[in-house]
């Protein structure tokens, strides 16, 4: 295909390095937005009873600061480098799904813009805190549309994250160069791998939470306003995600620090294997500690005590990681360059943030500390200190690779000094006035004034330090000396290609034999590069943003957005029917332990896992509300028609049989039976949905409506979500049938049918449980 230039290149690119740069610019933009908000409310806090921001404006500023920084700035900043560097580090030509990679980016950009748009709506941006605690964020207390719009923006971001997660897992697991076993992966790639594994399991529940909240806000259900534990339900749904999110943000930075230490100490990382094991353990534990955000809620003391202990114990693997990092400097040859300074800064700030975090693991201490500036200081040391400093190390470390130019070392060191001083000036005083409540726009205690003023001063110093960086990096683009391929003498693969790398990363495919990285000679004929361009990911994201915005603000806009969405999806599928976007499955790559996986099947499996987490949270909400319901939960068979439900279950089970037969016939090369099986699946799916619709109508006539009570709301939302998944499956099925008509599926090529089957059976499994919990008990 043709090479595009100018604006069109950026709108249509699917190259991971271009997308990495898009992420970089966008995340820096959001970092600036979030930072400016912070500087504004720091100014307000510098003086007691100041009148710079009204209470409402202040709450909007802190809410959007938190949301933007955590979700739209710092994590995407890490994914800028992940996109650019990870495929090169593992010796791949691109991500496993380049087009979906573009989709991740565009969904991210437009979800961020949608969230920022809420500032300009009547009532302004959300002012409920980034944690979106209910009942405050339900319409009774915050009726303004901005709260809903930002929640929908978050849903869109979750879509972006899920697509990205799947893409990175498949890429790292199956596209490694021959000989690159897991033990030879660079630390940064490991960091990103842990990040996406955490994302895979963490984002489903929060998506479910915001989904229920959006339904509460748009359709008037009462999941979070009910006294049956609505407020507690939200804290569970939010913090199950919220705690792993800290490690999601942190893990890439730990990876960067590992690579940077290795390069600049000129020694292998100390205890690398154990660092990785500890990292894995910490990632797992991070899912079973989250109740420490809820110690003051007073829920079940046994659960709180257990989570208090798991929280304390998560410090052990992190202790091993940090001490190993420190011992990497023992008997080394330390080259003190800007990236290393930021890496050391990251370690020091992480130690402070980690130790002060241990305080929060104690229920007795946390009963007081929760909601104070101690928490603010602690998590900023972890999330800004450790993470942002680590990512700034990445910025300086890979700048020569990305631009081919060397930055100004002296300015880099000055940036580090000012940033480090400014950072500590900003957050350390918060430890001293740890009694102060967070999220207050005004205070009356005189003793708190000096420390607040110091913090504000520090904030401006810290903010200023970024101007030095931007100046340095922009200036060096023009005047920097050429960096060469490997200015740092590092060993990893990204340094074995030109700076900046060619579009296809390597002229000859890399491989590792023993410890030596070598390249296939391929008879001296370099790789011929093909660029893929498509505007569909961008258009799809725009139409989703339009329809979400229209849903809340202006119905015609919703109609336009939805129509556009349908058109873009159709175009996307038509492109695929005509094979306009086929990237051959790479050969010889290291795939263990996923040897039987092709990209498509593996991708669908990962999608199924993330969907499983979403439904897990919905089932969790169901069981919490059912246990807590004041009064009797209606006996399932008394409300629902068990026989009809049973027939529908059997219909869906039969459709699973026809799908699995379709896969078998595709493998056997029996085109006719394949088509019959797929067609039967389609008809069975339609019958299921039809019966479902009939049941819904009947129940509505009986007064069992979406908003009548909690059991009915849960029924409609959960079976409705299931039905939506079925409809998505039917769309995919339509595409399969068209392709099967064209006779593309045979003994060698049945991936599409098989991947669809995995998804369809998952939807079937979900229904098996829905049938049990709603119809039978």
């Amino acid at each position: 295909m043709e090479n595009k230039s100018g604006l069109m290149r950026w709108l249509t690119t699917t190259n991971h390095k271009d997308i990495g740069l898009l992420y970089l610019v966008t995340s820096l933009y959001f970092l600036m937005v979030g930072g400016s908000l912070a500087l504004t409310f720091r100014l307000q806090l510098a003086f007691p009873q100041a009148d710079i921001l009204s209470a409402s404006a202040f709450n909007q500023a802190i809410t959007m600061h938190g949301l933007i920084m955590v979700l739209w700035a710092i994590s995407p900043f890490a994914f800028a480098f992940a996109n650019y560097i990870v495929p090169i580090q593992i010796g791949a030509r691109d991500m496993a799904f380049p087009r979906l990679n573009a989709l991740s980016y565009w969904l991210y950009l437009f979800s961020g813009l949608l969230a920022a748009l809420s500032f300009f709506l009547p009532g302004g941006a959300p002012d409920v805190g980034w944690t979106y605690y209910v009942p405050l964020s339900t319409p009774k207390f915050t009726p303004q549309p901005g709260v809903t719009v930002a929640a929908l923006a978050l849903a869109m971001l979750v879509a972006s994250v899920t697509v990205g997660t799947i893409n990175f897992i498949v890429t790292i697991a199956t596209l490694r160069a021959p000989g690159m076993g897991w033990s030879k992966l660079p630390m940064f790639t490991w960091g990103i791998l842990y990040t996406v594994l955490l994302m895979l399991f963490a984002f489903g529940p929060v998506a479910a939470g915001f989904f229920l909240l959006a339904i509460d806000r748009v359709f008037g259900t009462a999941f979070f306003t009910s006294p049956e534990g609505g407020a507690i339900l939200w804290t569970h749904m939010f913090w199950f995600f919220g705690h792993p999110e800290v490690y999601i943000v942190l893990a890439p930075a730990i990876g960067v620090v590992g690579d940077v230490i290795e390069t600049f100490t000129r020694k292998p990382l100390f205890g690398r294997k154990y660092i990785l094991i500890a990292f894995g353990i910490a990632s797992f534990i991070s899912f079973i500690v989250y109740v420490h955000h809820m110690f003051a809620t007073g829920i079940n003391p046994i659960i709180r005590e257990v989570m208090s202990i798991t929280t304390e114990s998560i410090s052990v693997p992190f202790g091993v990681i940090m001490l190993s990092f420190i011992f990497s400097f023992y008997k080394a040859r330390v080259r003190i360059k800007t990236p290393l300074l930021f890496a050391i800064g990251s370690i020091v700030l992480f130690i402070v943030g980690g130790i002060t975090g241990v305080f929060n693991s104690s229920i007795a201490l946390d009963r007081f500390i929760r909601g104070t500036y101690w928490v603010v200081a602690h998590f900023h040391y972890a999330m800004v200190g450790a993470t942002l400093f680590g990512l700034l190390a990445a910025m300086y470390y890979w700048y020569p690779k990305i631009t081919g130019k060397m930055y100004d070392e002296k300015l880099g060191k000055i940036h580090f000094a000012i940033a480090f001083i400014g950072f500590n000036l900003l957050y350390f005083p918060m430890f001293i006035i740890y009694e102060m409540p967070r999220r207050v726009n005004t205070y009356f205690v005189e003793e708190w004034i000096p420390m607040n003023q110091l913090a504000t001063l520090g904030g401006y110093v810290f903010g200023f330090s970024f101007l030095i960086m931007v100046y340095n990096l922009l200036k060096s683009l023009k005047t920097g000396s050429p960096a060469g391929n490997n200015p740092w003498g590092a060993w990893t693969l990204e340094w074995m290609t030109t700076s900046p790398p060619p579009p296809h990363n390597f002229d000859f495919d890399p491989m590792i034999s023993g410890n030596q990285i070598t390249f296939y000679t391929n008879g001296g004929v370099p790789h011929k590069h093909v660029e893929y361009h498509t505007m569909m990911p961008m258009l799809l994201s725009v139409s989703l943003m339009l329809s979400f915005f229209g849903l809340m603000m202006y119905t015609p806009l919703f109609v336009i957005g939805a129509a556009m969405l349908a058109a873009v999806l159709t175009k996307w599928l038509i492109d695929d029917v005509y094979d306009r976007f086929v990237i051959p499955e790479p050969e010889n790559t290291m795939k263990w332990p996923f040897d039987h996986m092709n990209r498509l099947k593996f991708g669908v499996w990962m999608l199924v896992i993330s969907e499983a987490m979403l439904f897990a949270a919905l089932f969790g909400a169901y069981s919490l509300l059912r246990i807590n319901l004041i009064g009797e939960w209606p006996y399932g068979p008394a409300v629902h028609d068990v026989r009809l439900g049973g027939i529908n279950t059997i219909i869906l089970l039969t459709s699973s049989l026809t799908v699995v037969l379709a896969v078998a016939y595709a493998k056997m090369g029996d085109q006719r039976k394949l088509l019959y099986s797929l067609g039967a699946t389609y008809i069975l799916g339609l019958v299921f949905l039809g019966l479902k619709g009939y049941e819904w109508m009947k129940l509505y006539d009986e007064g069992f409506t979406l908003t009548s009570d909690l059991p009915s709301s849960l029924y409609y939302v959960m079976t409705g979500t299931h039905a939506a998944h079925m409809i998505a499956g039917m769309i995919a099925l339509t595409y399969l049938i068209v392709k099967a008509f064209r006779g593309v599926y045979n003994e060698k090529n049945y991936d599409g049918v098989e991947a669809f089957g995995i998804y369809w059976h998952f939807v079937d499994i979900v229904w098996i449980f829905l049938f049990a919990i709603f119809y039978l008990m």
């Binding site: 605690y133 000129r266 208090s308 011992f327």
Partner: protein
């Protein structure tokens, strides 16, 4: 209305809270300084201009493992011991803070958080907004709930608090030993009046 750093402890559980906090603080400070000190010392001692060590990172060569399982076990053991110490004491204090001490004479106040203020209901049914008066040297129990959204009822000087949740009750206790005026404030964002959601605790 002002209150400052606690110079004198107004009663329990603040005293016990400080003993726990001080343990965490001193161990944390010790560990933090040793670890950061070690890092900076290594960086300085082995800086390139004076280091005699070899350069073991070669472009295009995957570096080998450099580790020492004994040292890793030491890291593991040390962090475990420190955290075990902290956790055990924390559990003791938690049990103390979360269980109302047995006493014959308990003064019980129901607290209702609302947007934006605190209502106190005395045992005799009297309702007061904004100020609660409790007796010295007696166990005082607060039964906390919310009339609307999530709040957090915080007795700043007494170093204790609990979330105020709609539809549920949370219980905390104090035992004031110093007469005086103390501050109650909301510590969970609850809307535009959050910063002003304060009340007074008067111990007589």
């Amino acid at each position: 209305m002002t209150h400052g750093m606690v110079l004198q402890i107004p009663g329990e559980p603040a005293g016990t809270w400080y003993s726990l906090f001080n343990l965490y603080f001193s161990l944390g400070l010790l560990v933090g300084s040793v670890v950061v000190g070690m890092l900076l010392y290594f960086v300085w001692k082995y800086r390139e201009s004076v280091s005699n060590e070899s350069d073991d990172i070669k472009p295009g060569v995957v570096p080998g493992e450099r580790s020492n399982i004994k040292l890793i076990m030491v890291f593991f053991g040390l962090t475990s011991i420190i955290l075990f110490t902290l956790a055990s004491y924390s559990i003791l204090v938690t049990n103390y803070v979360e269980k109302v001490p047995k006493a014959d004479d308990i003064f019980e106040v129901t607290v209702q958080g609302f947007q934006w203020g605190w209502r106190f209901i005395y045992p005799n049914g009297t309702e007061v907004v904004g100020e609660v008066v409790v007796p010295k040297d007696k166990i005082v129990v607060f039964r906390i709930t919310s009339m609307d959204v999530f709040h957090k009822f915080q007795l700043i000087e007494f170093r204790t608090g609990a979330d105020a949740l709609p539809g549920a009750f949370n219980v905390i206790w104090i035992k004031p030993t110093q007469a005086g005026t103390y501050t109650i404030q909301c510590y969970e964002l609850c809307g535009i009046g959050h910063s002003l959601m304060v009340a007074t605790l008067r111990v007589v």
